[in-house]
Amino acid sequence: MSTPVYTAESRGGWRRRLTGIPIVPVLVSAMLPVLVLSSPAAAADLNMTVRVTVERVEGHDFGEDPDFYSYVEIAGESFNNEDTPASDPFEDTYTIEPNWEFSKQVALSSGTVPIYLEIRDEDGFLRFDDDLADLDPDGDDPDDPTDNDDDTDQSLSFTLDLNACTVTGDLNGACGVFTSTGTPDESASVRLRVEVTEPPAAPGIRIRCMHTPLFPKVGDTVTITAEFLDGALAPTRADTLEIWVNERGGPKVATSNSLTLTYNHTVSGGGSFSYGCRGIDGGVPIFTGWRSVAVTSGAGDEVPVLYTGSTYSRVDWVFVGDADDYSGASDPQFQADVQQIIYNSFYSYDRFLVHQDALNFWLQVGTGQADPAEDGCDHVVPDSGWADSVMVVHVDSFRDCAMGGSNVFSGENNDFAVVRHESGHRPFGLADEYCCDGGYYQQDVFPNVYEEPEDCAEDAPNLGRTAADCREFEEEIENWDDFDWSVSDPASNDLMVDNTTAQAADIRRIEWYFAECRGAKC
């Protein structure tokens, strides 16, 4: 949908009669109701991203070195990152800077949302009596009329106004960074950031944005291209398209009523540059989120070419070039091929595009060596064990494979559907759904394959299906598996069958995974 802001008129008639009345301000005044009052209706469906980031925690007066983790509630959804890779590294430490991000999409029409924060000290594995670090300086609960000022409230509760982006309660003020310190004995000083940001997608509209070259050098000109898409990822015109680069003061370039927008940015230094693309249509803004791009290799083995934020709240993909085809991260062909993989496998797949602000992409500085399946699948790569998935990109055609003992798989540079299928395995943990020689297992949480047909039948209504949708197949491998497996996802046109579309069970698991990530659990 587009809203005209200026309409050409005839030179005669009414304009002459209004001689002396400036036409522009009058027209603008006339259009303002359209411009402004059209927003509430259009914005009714708009989900904003509410993000709470625990940047720093400094404990006081704990008997032993505390094992901090966070419990956060945003608009009623709780997040708890106890015993996760995001919290384990910070155990036994009084002062931590974990940058734990917790985010949730909240309808703008909600007006306000409650937010609740606890910092807890884990007392041991699977113990349920963990201590709370007192964060509240006055210990009173502003939301509790019966609170008797007894300093027993140790958490932070506040209400976030989505429109004004202000908070009231235990914290007060405009969105941004807050600090709070509880009263002595097992207390903590916490620094947290509260944000309300535009979502990376909205019903019926999407935005895709990429830069090239993927890993530019200082002095290179980087072309950033924004594309506005509909819900089916077909190009559609946006009322406004913007490209923001490095500065948050405003977009570098903007256009109206366009399908795409391009901006050329010259990399001047500083080790990185950042950009994001924003589209507004029908009063609904969507923003890819800021991404930072490395322009020099750092100390690590990997360089981020699309970094959206903390790895503990993101799905991290690392690409490594096969030494037979590429010379490393600086190889222009490698960059071009990986760019195509990101564009086609992730940004052209709606299930991933809507979570583009939760995906990080990295390039291995060095090269690896893909090993064909028939040779034993012993890929040799520089270790990126921390990543959620590592792809050895190669050009030659041979039988690709994924190693069970690592997070590495090989893939041809143009096997975009295979990349999506492999991502179903890692990181999302989906099992194959085809008969009869795939990789089968039943996940503890939101499985897509079941050991027992009764489990499939019981779960089917949760996926909008009936027990009749469950189909069975059998796989027997001596001393390994002897199961009849059940699935309710369809036997074709499925991500885990023929590398195509994520179906209900796949979607549920993928969405759960992203939600866990948004709760600082990955």
Binding site: L32, S39, R248, R426, D444, E516
Partner: protein
């Protein structure tokens, strides 16, 4: 209103209308709702703040139950999320007491998902697989145990302590590592009998003082003390260990061990005690090893036990402590090995009479007691302990003044210590006999 003012009013119209509408509408363009507020991700800062580490256990499979740990390493990057991993293998990270620190599921290294010859994907089981499990670093972790879930079989049990210790030695300033300069400040024998008796055991106490010179603490300290005896002496045990918990910086912590020594031959015999302190926790390191060890050598005077017959030929052996006290004769019997339970043969005629001291046990072992009143030995065939028999060998009869013996009315024995001389040298002897003190 002038034309100019009228024109100005028209130009202000949008502001008035917009302002009125704006007050009642949602603030979609407010700074809080657009890229102007959202922070720009900073991977350099994030990486700098993220000091996480992980423990990598690498294995090689040769068949499903045959996994060999090929490497354990601490790396300075985060562990991966195991959020989506399937329940194929279960990884438990355990602490020193077997306490469960963390647990997660992971893939199985023998699984291989590969393109099929006919197209599509297939799962194969690769019996010669290599793989790894990566767990978040925990300074208290000691063991990783991996279970093959389907087989319900423990396939890997890896000791993590060496890898953690090596990492901390290389990165002593890491926040998870503790630097403690442990030192043995002193080691010495604090309790020991004045003499030892050949063939009999005695107890020696050795005390070690340990301190922590910092900079970090408190730290648990492992103390190992070894004992090495010279010829003619046996000491048990060969070593003892103790854990000194929580040695604070600057604190002196003592540990005392009991040792058993046994003289196997007469003479001055030595035993050397060496105490060595070391950090106990894998993540604790001591970068100053030069002060971790200290030794002491103790000399034991191994005396030959002898048989003493006080007031030979009579019983009871009454000793009058009255005015001046009476003179007490006693015979040191010449005995064969095994006679009267003595471990060694003893020729009483080798006694140097001027060295002999008689009296209360503690008094004579302390260097006191009465001296031989004549300053000489009287070699004669004296009575055996049955007070009737006199064997063929010459015994040594000595005389002491009872009042010089340091006896108390409660004493029931009188003891004799002194030296004797043979071709092999001079040695101590010691023996006691029953007495009845007469006030």
């Amino acid at each position: 209103m002038t034309p100019n003012r009228r024109r100005l009013a028209w130009w202000l119209l949008p502001l008035a209308v917009g302002g009125a509408l704006w007050a009642g509408g949602p603030a979609l363009s407010e700074p809080g709702n657009d890229p102007a507020l959202e922070p720009i991700p900073d991977f350099v800062a994030d990486a700098a703040a993220d000091e996480t580490k992980s423990i990598v256990v690498r294995v090689a499979f040769n068949g499903r139950p045959n996994a060999t740990v090929t490497d354990v390493e601490v790396v300075d990057e985060r562990a991966p999320s195991h959020l989506g991993a399937p329940p194929l293998s279960k990884v438990d990270v355990l602490g020193e007491t077997g306490d469960l620190i963390q647990t997660f599921h992971d893939w199985h290294p023998m699984w291989e998902l590969g393109e099929d010859v006919a197209g599509g994907e297939t799962r194969r089981l690769n019996p010669q697989a290599k793989g790894r499990w990566i767990a978040p670093f925990d300074r208290d972790a000691t063991t990783i145990v991996v279970t093959d879930i389907a087989a319900e079989d423990e396939i890997v049990r890896a000791d993590l302590t060496d890898a953690i210790h090596e990492f901390c030695l290389a990165h002593p300033d890491d926040e998870d590592c503790l630097r403690a300069d442990l030192a043995v400040e002193a080691v010495g024998v604090t309790t020991a009998p004045p003499i030892g008796l050949v063939g009999q055991e005695a107890t020696i106490a050795v005390t070690t003082v340990v301190t922590n010179n910092g900079p970090d603490g408190p730290a648990d300290a492992g103390l190992t003390t070894t004992a090495v005896a010279g010829p003619g002496l046996t000491v048990t045990p060969a070593s003892q260990t103790a854990t000194l918990t929580g040695v604070a910086v600057g604190a002196d912590v003592t540990d005392t061990d009991q040792w058993t020594v046994r003289c196997d031959a007469p003479g001055l015999r030595t035993v050397t005690f060496t105490s060595t302190v070391a950090t106990v926790h894998a993540a604790d390191v001591d970068l100053v090893p030069g002060n971790n060890t200290r030794s002491t050598t103790h000399t034991v005077d191994c005396a030959v036990p002898v048989t003493v017959n006080i007031k030979p030929g009579g019983d009871p052996n009454s000793i009058n402590l009255g005015a001046g006290g009476d003179t007490v004769p006693l015979a040191v019997l010449t005995t064969a090995a095994g006679e009267y339970g003595n471990p060694l043969a003893f020729d009483a005629t080798t006694i140097v009479a001027t060295t002999a001291r008689f009296g209360d046990r503690a008094v004579v072992l302390g260097g006191g007691g009465g001296a031989e009143t004549h300053g000489r030995r009287h070699d004669e065939r004296s009575y055996e302990l049955d007070e009737r028999t006199r064997d063929a060998d010459l015994d040594a009869v000595l005389h002491f003044r009872a009042s010089e013996g340091g006896f108390t009315p409660d004493d029931t024995e009188g003891c004799l210590v002194g030296t004797f001389t043979t071709a092999a040298g001079s040695f101590s002897f010691f023996g006691c006999g029953p007495v009845r003190i007469v006030p």
